[in-house]
């Protein structure tokens, strides 16, 4: 190494040693891993920031968003963003945040439009994340804004128009300022409030929990059906208890009757390999590839038993 380049190295080290983070001496010290190429990064780098960084080119209108929303979102979130069952409410609630029962929605609570685009793209629709095209995400985002009266029905959301949208609750947040309470370590004659006894009506009672306990003596068939019940309740029921995607609802004998006429084996085959019918689509194993054929088969039997 020439004395000039040594001097250069020393000067560089001196410049960067002001920051622990940029300590070149340690960078790459272990020499592990492969350097990520821009192409590799682009496949996984999906995040969007409030300043629009990360947004792809593209656009979508409220009008396009309407039918996409009906097809992809309304089953859980309701046609007007009102929420179905325990699935999130998306629209309304503006002005309720200081009420006794506030309604937190995109319109009433969300501070950044980028959050909405990012989340729809990253995690929705619930059963098929990352399946929407960029233009579809723009369109659905625009429609959810429309449902919240933030934009009019002519609005087109694009990378260019993104930063023009003002979210109603943009100024509604502040950074954590805890600790916000100050108790003292009193040991004698301490102040106490009024005792209120609630009857724990909303929780599981101990009896309910006891009824969930596994029996100590069970037959193999009992165990198979218990597992099937669990598979149904945790996975299949997402669609087959609610009717999402045109799925026949368990317990609705009328809807199941024509399907049962094909025979149980045909139903099981369709559930395992997937099926496209008049009413809707059954993805192979419901989209849960980790289920074994036997898991699917017993879950179908369980559902059929309850739908005759």
């Amino acid at each position: 190494m020439s004395s000039l380049s040594r001097l250069f190295g020393v000067v560089c080290l001196w410049i960067i040693s002001g920051s622990l983070l940029a300590d070149d001496h340690r960078t790459g010290y272990f020499g592990i891993g492969e350097v990520a190429t821009p192409d590799q990064i682009s496949g996984w780098d999906i995040d969007i920031r409030p300043d629009g960084e990360g947004l792809p080119e593209g656009e979508g209108s409220v009008a396009d968003g309407e039918w996409l929303y009906e097809a992809q979102c309304a089953e859980c979130h309701g046609s007007f963003g009102e929420g179905v069952g325990r699935y999130p409410v998306l629209a309304g609630g503006q002005g309720t945040l200081s009420d006794g029962r506030p309604t937190r929605t995109v319109g009433s609570y969300w501070a950044h439009l980028s959050t909405l685009w990012d989340y729809i793209h990253r995690a929705m629709p619930f059963t098929a994340p990352e399946s929407l095209s960029d233009d579809e995400v723009y369109a659905i985002t625009a429609y959810v804004l429309y449902l919240n009266d933030i934009v009019d029905d002519e609005f087109v959301l694009s990378k260019a128009s993104f930063l023009s949208v003002e979210m109603p609750n943009a100024a509604g947040f502040y950074r954590d300022d805890r600790p916000d309470v100050s108790n003292i370590r009193c040991m004698e004659d301490c102040l106490v409030g009024e005792l209120v006894v609630h009857s724990s009506v909303m929780g599981f009672s101990s009896e309910q929990v006891a009824s969930l306990e596994p029996e100590s003596e069970t037959s193999a068939e009992d165990e198979r059906m218990a597992k099937a019940k669990s598979t149904y309740e945790s996975l299949c029921g997402i669609c087959h208890a609610s009717g999402i995607g045109g799925a026949p609802i368990v317990g609705d004998a009328e809807v199941w009757q024509p399907r049962l006429e094909k025979g149980l084996d045909a139903l099981i085959d369709n559930a395992i390999v997937g099926y496209i019918g008049d009413a809707g689509v059954m993805p192979a194993k419901g989209g849960f590839a980790h289920l074994s054929d036997e898991d699917v088969s017993s879950a179908v039997e369980y559902m059929v038993d309850r739908s005759r």
Partner: protein, 436 residues
């Protein structure tokens, strides 16, 4: 004889606990008292309980052989412990894919939560990931963006730490009043494990972070692509990229093969199935740090980036799961923890907070870890209002519900760490109650 054991066990209610006759009762000959206490707890009378197991009889298992090695290549708990399991409350969530289950706190021993009963929280179910196919990408404001394999991570210096993980919604159902009737449900979004992995600061050194960097986005490989913004200060302090839990690989439910652990911070930031770390110069304001995990205050504004889990405690015995079964001496036991460091004191009140006595620690006292406390109780059947109050090493004293609601109202959902009250009835039954 073996069949009889099974019948005997299955006739128990799940929480009635030990099948032993109270030793003191036998020794002192006070069988009347023991019989009464057993009857009160719903157990079979003494005469049918003996059944050849008790001295002077010798039980069958002492006079025969049991199964040999490798009967279970990966061992399981005794079948008599089958009541120790995670449970959920169905009405809390829309389905079981994006849902939560609770740790059975009352049945834990010591401060380590067994991996198989640690509470679960998923937003898109549990991805089934082959570790050979898993990659961690680190990029953004770095000199050398990297893609790492699990083997790469194994070559780096490892650390092991015992730290708690708590969902900030733990106890969130209790803001408006006592609601859940088991300690599993009032406090069970909580676990404490030994975590083994690589300090995040080691990885950041390896990629060379730009001086302008101040935040890191952590993102999961699950269908939710769960993402949170983490301040650089935490990343360089004690955040760990974890592959080991309690001496084995992470369980799938806990992020196998790789997750982030941010000790003492709300569990949601400890991204599971970690696939990507992006270094940036501002937070990303993603869904889980804006529409969720923000704390709505009475004036309609909300706190954001409220990361720390403040000092908290709860009595796990007695509790609804562990009623008092007989009069006499026993111990009040529970857990205390703080996201700001070590627990300094735990005080226990038997009269609803009028007077307090300092409890003693029965475990190691580690920073940002569950700490066990106990206080002797000589119970003669009187009603009690039991409370515990923890103080951490910063001097912060666990607050009352009254103090919390005064500042935060009842709609902030997260970070409820109020002093909890159990009402002990004269029959030993335990009920969840609150002071306002």
């Amino acid at each position: 004889m073996t069949t009889k054991v099974t019948e005997f066990t299955s006739s128990h209610s799940p929480d009635s606990g030990s099948n032993l006759i109270p030793r003191r009762a036998l020794l002192t000959g006070s069988l009347g008292l023991a019989g009464g206490a057993l009857a009160a707890a719903g157990l079979a009378p003494l005469t049918t309980r003996a059944g050849g197991f008790m001295p002077p009889e010798v039980p069958q298992w002492t006079k025969s052989l049991g199964p040999g090695v490798l009967t279970q290549p990966y061992g399981q708990p005794s079948k008599f412990e089958s009541h120790v399991q995670r449970r959920t409350v169905e009405w809390l969530t829309a389905d079981r894919i994006a849902s939560i289950s609770f740790t059975p706190l009352a049945d834990l021993k010591g401060i380590i939560t067994p991996s198989g009963v640690m509470f679960e929280r998923y937003h898109a179910g549990i991805p089934q990931i082959n570790p050979d196919h898993h990659r961690l990408m680190i990029h953004g404001l770095v000199k050398r963006p990297l893609i790492l394999t699990m083997d790469d991570l194994a070559r780096l210096p490892s650390v092991s730490m015992i730290r708690f993980v708590e969902c900030p919604a733990n106890g969130g159902m209790e803001w408006r009043g006592a609601q859940m009737d088991r300690v599993q449900f009032t406090h069970g979004m909580l676990a404490c494990c030994e975590w083994t992995g690589v300090l995040l600061s080691t990885l950041l050194e390896e990629v060379g972070v730009d001086p302008s960097a101040s935040w890191i986005l952590a993102e999961g490989a699950d269908g939710a692509h769960m993402s949170r913004s983490i301040p650089m200060e935490k990343a360089l302090d004690d955040a760990i990229v974890v592959y080991g839990q309690n001496g084995e690989a992470l369980r799938p439910e806990q992020g196998y093969p790789l997750r982030l652990i941010n000790p003492g911070w709300e569990g949601n930031t400890s991204i599971k199935w970690l696939r990507r770390l992006e270094v940036g110069d501002q937070p990303w304001f993603h869904r889980e740090e804006t529409s969720k995990y923000t704390d709505l205050m009475p004036d309609g504004r909300a706190r954001e980036f409220s990361f720390v889990q403040e000092c908290n405690s709860v009595i796990t015995s007695p509790s609804p799961e562990k009623p008092l079964k007989q009069k006499g001496k026993t111990h009040i036991e529970g857990f205390a923890w703080s996201g700001r460091g070590k627990i300094k004191h735990v005080d226990v009140s038997k009269d609803g907070g009028k007077t307090w006595q300092e409890a003693h620690f029965t475990s190691m006292v580690l920073p940002k870890a569950l700490t066990r406390f106990a206080l002797e109780l000589d119970w003669q059947g009187e009603p009690l209002l039991l409370q515990s109050r923890a103080v951490d090493e910063t001097g912060y004293v666990q607050p009352t519900y009254h103090q919390l609601r005064d500042v935060r109202g009842t709609n902030s959902i997260y970070h409820k760490n109020a002093i909890h009250t159990w009402k002990i009835h004269q029959d030993g039954r335990v009920e969840n109650v609150q002071f306002v």
